[in-house]
């Protein structure tokens, strides 16, 4: 069994200063333990609000940020934490990113195929002629023709097209896993499925794993095998995607599901508990969600819940779920 992803006690602490809050400690990642083992390629979604830590997790796995403590493993190779780690070149051959804003991901002064070419020649170690073939092939996989892309600048594409170019670039070195940080949130809702379906086909036909960071549960449901729900730096629920989304057990997961604006089912109009100032919530000693939780009791305020493994294989971090 391959270990696709494994984080052990991953921590990332930021210190904030300011007039309102003096030297506050923010645990953007607080003792995160995530393990996904499978022989098949998998799409793992990490879902949460802003401030949940999902983007920090992505950054740690992309080695853009170093964890304060703990370690992380991708496909049996340790990539973060103490100990020997692969070189940059090797790492870029294993893990590739897709960023949220396709117009920020490319410099407006360079043509987009310059990045593709560079990836082919530098990361995938191809010769010039092979590189062009690899680029054309990768673009075809995402539904674009090389001649439509060659020589063009980012502002000559739409958001959806540019994001697909981004995916093509990530595919060129045949990485084991692609880390996609909110890849469709900047694309119009009606056009998102084009990119989401692409991820699904890349997993099924070309055997690539994905780490899909999002706050949109509907698209996460559509393609994930596994799902991890995060709140203020902690994992609150983790396991098989269909199981969890069909029957969410952690109160926060339930809140997330309730918040999706779906056609066909109108919201209840009772007042919902809104998030408080972020920095305050990070200071809670007990469960970070206790302020907003409908089933919170005294124990929740003082004691952090540990993982409870359920019979269906999922892990829930709650005293009373």
């Amino acid at each position: 069994m391959n270990t696709i992803l494994k984080t052990s006690n991953l921590n990332k602490v930021y210190r904030l200063g300011g007039l309102l809050f003096n030297r506050v400690r923010i645990n953007a990642l607080d003792d995160v333990n995530l393990t996904v083992e499978s022989d098949e390629p998998a799409i793992i979604s990490v879902v949460g609000e802003s401030g949940s830590g999902k983007t920090t997790l992505a950054k740690v796995l992309l080695r853009l940020v170093r964890p304060t403590s703990g370690s992380a493993l991708v496909y049996d190779r340790q990539i973060a934490g103490e100990g020997e780690k692969p070189s940059n070149r090797e790492f870029f051959g294993m893990v590739q990113p897709i960023f949220q804003n396709p117009f920020e991901a490319f410099s407006s002064h360079r043509t987009v195929d310059a990045y593709l070419y560079s990836t082919a020649v530098r990361v995938a170690d191809l010769e010039k002629t092979e590189a062009v073939d690899a680029m054309a092939e990768a673009l075809r996989l995402v539904g674009l023709e090389y001649r439509d892309v060659r020589g063009k600048y980012p502002n000559q594409f739409s958001g959806g097209e540019l994001q697909r170019v981004s995916v093509a670039r990530a595919l060129i070195p045949h990485p084991k896993i692609i880390v996609a940080d909110e890849p469709v949130s900047m694309i119009d809702a009606s056009l998102r499925m084009n990119v989401i379906n692409l991820f699904l086909s890349l997993k099924e036909e070309f055997r690539r794993s994905f780490l899909y960071i999002t706050h949109d549960l509907s698209t996460a449901y559509y393609i994930s095998d596994y799902i991890a729900v995060m709140y203020r730096g902690c994992i609150v629920e983790f396991g098989d995607a269909r199981t969890i989304l069909a029957d969410p057990q952690h109160p926060y997961t339930q809140l997330l599901l309730d918040s999706i604006p779906e056609i066909g089912h109108k919201w209840d109009r009772e007042r919902m508990a809104m998030a408080d100032i972020e920095a305050k919530e990070f200071q809670f000693e007990g469960c970070r969600f206790c302020n907003r939780c409908p089933i919170a009791k005294d124990r929740c305020i003082v004691e952090r819940p540990l993982a409870t493994e359920k019979t269906d294989g999922r892990k829930v971090y709650c005293h009373f779920a």
């Binding site: 992309l62 870029f92 990113p97 410099s107 407006s108 990045y115 990836t119 600048y153 502002n155 670039r169």
Partner: protein
């Protein structure tokens, strides 16, 4: 490049000065520095376009050579300061950490040193024997620091942008990232900074020359004024001698200013498109 009016006027003015000072000397075989070539203090005439001064020099030709030398000094020094400021600023900003801190400490030290008093002291020590090149070198040594700081802060902010990570994941090396990703965002500033540096150099040199601390035998915009003042041109009603270089300097500066701001304006309205 679609130029706006301001830029167009600025470039025209500069072109007149640069081309004039380059090509006009070819039509002249009289050494303008030599004193007593002509009769003294002649008024404006068709033979002497701006008349002559108390030293028997033709003012017009002296001015042409003066402009040429000022420009040569200005452009040469600016090229060096801009190159140094650019390299230091970009690398320091991108690398960050200890290297950045050390470099910026050095830069700040150079900025903090009051240049003009030092130049005065130096010039006094080597009075009259300053070589033109020495003045140039000193200006380069002190002129790169401010630009380096600015470019470094630009590099710092661009470093955080996503396309830099993208470039890393595409296998680009540090040097490639600095040149291909960061530099394009910085070069508009560098062009403007280059032009402003020319202004600065000419001002510095002129200021030194006017007080006689540069090599005043060599005609520059400043040295004309030095000689004019030494010979009490204003008192002897030789107004042209003083007014001509002043007007020339103002026009030159106007040309540089219009070009610099016009370019800035043009660049700002042009979005990054193919």
């Amino acid at each position: 490049m679609k130029m706006n009016t301001r830029l167009r006027i600025g470039i025209i003015i500069l072109a007149i000065f640069v081309l004039g000072s380059l090509f006009l000397p070819l039509f002249n075989d009289v050494d303008p520095i030599k004193q007593g070539t002509y009769a003294k203090s002649l008024p404006i005439s068709s033979e002497h376009l701006l008349g002559t001064n108390s030293l028997g020099q033709d003012i017009f030709w002296f001015l042409v050579y003066a402009i040429r030398n000022s420009l040569i000094l200005g452009i040469t020094v600016s090229i060096f300061t801009t190159l140094i400021a650019g390299s230091v600023g970009l690398l320091s900003g991108y690398l960050g950490g200890g290297a950045d801190r050390a470099t910026m400490t050095l830069t700040d030290a150079v900025i903090a040193i009051p240049l003009f008093p030092i130049l005065i002291v130096l010039a006094t020590l080597v009075r009259g024997n300053t070589s033109f090149m020495l003045v140039g070198i000193i200006l380069v040594v002190f002129g790169w620091a401010w630009g380096a700081r600015t470019i470094r802060s630009m590099a710092l902010s661009i470093r955080e942008r996503e396309f830099i990570s993208m470039a890393k994941f595409s296998g680009s090396s540090t040097l490639e990232i600095v040149v291909r990703e960061i530099f394009p965002y910085v070069y508009a500033y560098m062009v403007v900074s280059f032009i402003n540096a020319i202004l600065w150099v000419i001002t510095m040199e002129s200021s030194l020359a006017v007080i006689g601390l540069s090599k005043v035998e060599i005609p520059t915009l400043g040295s004309i004024l030095f000689w004019a003042l030494s010979y009490n041109a204003l008192f002897t009603k030789q107004n042209v001698w003083v007014v001509a270089p002043v007007v020339a300097t103002v026009l030159l500066f106007l040309g540089l200013f219009l070009t610099s701001t016009g370019y800035n304006q043009m660049y700002a309205t042009r979005r990054g498109h193919a």
